[in-house]
Symmetry: C2
Subunit: 479 residues, 2 copies
Amino acid sequence: MEWKPNRHSHLTIHQQIVNWIKQRIQSGEWPIHTKLPTQRKLAEAMGVNRSTIVNAIEELVADGILSTRVGDGTYVSNNSWNVLIKDIHPDWEKHISSSIYEPNFQTIQLINEYEQRENIIRLGTGELSPDLLPTAVLQRSLQNVPLTARDIGYSEPKGSRQLRHALSRYATKRGIHATPDSIMIVSGALQALQLISLGLLEPGSTVFQEAPSYLNSVRPFQSAGMRIVSLDKENRDNRLPDQIISMKGKKQSLFYTVPTLHNPTGSIMSLDERRELLQICAYQQIPIIEDDVYHGLAFGKTPPSLKSLDSDGQVLYIGSMSKTLSPGLRIGWVIGPEPVIDRLADIKMQTDYGSSAFSQQIARHWLESGLYEEHIDQLREQLKRRADFVEEILQLRYNSIATWNKPAGGFYIWLRLHEPLVNKALFLKLLKQNVLINPGYIYDAKDFYHIRLSYAYASFEQLETGLNILYEAIAEGTS
Amino acid sequence: MEWKPNRHSHLTIHQQIVNWIKQRIQSGEWPIHTKLPTQRKLAEAMGVNRSTIVNAIEELVADGILSTRVGDGTYVSNNSWNVLIKDIHPDWEKHISSSIYEPNFQTIQLINEYEQRENIIRLGTGELSPDLLPTAVLQRSLQNVPLTARDIGYSEPKGSRQLRHALSRYATKRGIHATPDSIMIVSGALQALQLISLGLLEPGSTVFQEAPSYLNSVRPFQSAGMRIVSLDKENRDNRLPDQIISMKGKKQSLFYTVPTLHNPTGSIMSLDERRELLQICAYQQIPIIEDDVYHGLAFGKTPPSLKSLDSDGQVLYIGSMSKTLSPGLRIGWVIGPEPVIDRLADIKMQTDYGSSAFSQQIARHWLESGLYEEHIDQLREQLKRRADFVEEILQLRYNSIATWNKPAGGFYIWLRLHEPLVNKALFLKLLKQNVLINPGYIYDAKDFYHIRLSYAYASFEQLETGLNILYEAIAEGTS
Ligand SMILES: Cc1ncc(COP(=O)(O)O)c(C=O)c1O
Ligand SMILES: Cc1ncc(COP(=O)(O)O)c(C=O)c1O
């Protein structure tokens, strides 16, 4: 036994010992019924106090991983969960570990892990900075949130009727005419995608997406066994319509798109492109999922939503308050043909009996009182100021190594390096310097040119420091 | 065209017309591109004003089901969703329409539908009456709910750390020692079951349950393709251990149980039964899901929870505030071995990015301030009063036709008729008289003897009226 805890690690000694023991077990090194070395031996070998060992073992006993027999030492439990954990849901596991997704997936796990830490500069986080969240106003508004006994019971399948009324009015400003019956409430846009994947598609269906795509970083469709086809919007030799026709399989298909302030590129689809997409998909009988979660955050005017151009119930529209008000609300909505909405609502009920009534009442209050739109107007200006700040830094230092488009709103700049340097090594190198980036390959596994910069999360100071560290890291790679 | 709307229906004329048109389309009678009769003809045939037709058509156009071409009438849309809806998720559909589940499923759908109506006496609803919800106290408490910017952002995978701390302390009172790391927050207990089914079991795994079972009314495992095996606890010729051994398949298994205040029977498993179950399952390597959502509502002392008797991490424990505080909160929790919790939390993040931060902060505040336990103490007394009231009525009128056990807490009395009269006909007959019951066959497809009575929902007056109507309906069946 050679291992000793590392005194310079960010983890406590206790945590390191617990992790190390778990790893021995998970790796199969210490199979079920293994007797552990005595506490004294462990303490000596690791160079720690015996009480530290006692504490670590106690935690693992409480978790059912070890068990102690009085007067007879400590054993690896005969723990049925260990058996399950090893051999769970093979499709899922296969997915996680299939060669293309592995580096992708590991990077996403690292991002999730490091986002929990303090002192990390998050250059790519797709979330509003704590400064930009209207925490105090939200707190004060709680006093005025209307609650009746009916509201806080189990909900109707489609969610609070009053909230759906408020959303129906709000949607008309986006040119969408929807009755409350064709609107359902979900716990964020991600849940909407999850429900669509469970409720409208059979395994083996085709989901078309634009490359690069947000979907690659969350994969609600992949884990349900869908066939994901990435279409290249920029390819002039092989236009979108032709790609769709050639790639359409025999099973059902869907087209998933973020036409307004696309994640990760920040781009906005033109009116002509929107019309063309609707036309092709109508002709091919391919329903469209319009993910519009960044709506309201454009710095200038935007073309009408696909849903507002849709006269045949071809489009299923998804909105959310996560990017505009608070991700913690977990309030999103889906607008579409009533039978589709009914179907999704039915599945939602079977999944979680509806979304938080409190969140729904808060969302309703913010829409009805006008607080929501007031807030978005201010937020947009603050995002614009942040975008300008980042662009200035880019103009000063990055012109020789990268290109980018002027941000049109939302959170992101899709920075393209002249050379394919954005690989896992760069990601890890930056992590060592406490800078977290979202590399392009999470959104398109073959892309080593791009970084998704977000001006929404880090502070001005962090943005400046982070972009300087990033520049140096790239420059070292180029030379 | 013979059909006319029914002036005596509970539906409006408008809604009836909309439904009728939809049905023509869904049944394939009016396929895509069908031209509808003119508005004048429709109005004449149905005997309604032309404006009524115009409104109905407008709604269907807004929903994408019909489209109008100027000067050329109304058509059935070329609507790709129609195609999807018809042919969705065949496994699911097969399930819904498989012969055993059909009447079961239709009854559940009717219950869900009629629960939304006014003036229905709900004799079986598994939900607290609006009177029993602490609406005003909840409303006032919102002022004191602590919110920080961090709280209302995207959450940690396992949910709010402070809430998990509070739950860790709360669980010790139940004899469960769990660190915050081995606790995760879910959006209600149903979501916990859903996550277990997605994340820990492969299709074809066996889920053991007690017959009758709450699971039959929600089926989170069935829709994911699990094999459900119902065990008969009462069978003296074939004891539980033998049943488990003979029914265990080659794939993974789980045992799902509600040992304390079982739904639908209201029974409490004795300490000996608990010990025996743990032993068999440990020996057979079958993990146990302990669903403890009625905890706190027992009128007397209860044996310790399975989880508190479990020294090997064999039990995954589920709690919830739906039955004790407010279903609209959508706050539940899972306690178990840390690797299992990590796995489930990971899947939860991929499903909906965590539960409402507002609900989590409210739950935390109620636990930390002691409001939660104070409230439960009062609630228990009110439920006891309701239970006594219902029992008195039963004693007076039902002795000659049925048997039941004295309620030990929670919401339910599992009424057993002397004769197998509880079929769909009885259910529908009562519905006509505005009385909604939960027949036993939703919980055990072969059971036509039982009714799940709930004293938690209807008012005292409604309970009395409803039980009288129920008595008459049964008496008519017997004579
Ligand atoms: C394009 C897009 N869709 C959906 C989501 C998920 O949003 P929600 O928090 O509403 O689930 C995000 C957030 O990252 C996003 O960028
Ligand atoms: C035994 C049992 N488990 C779980 C649930 C679901 O509870 P929740 O509202 O927390 O999802 C119920 C509610 O009907 C129940 O009776």
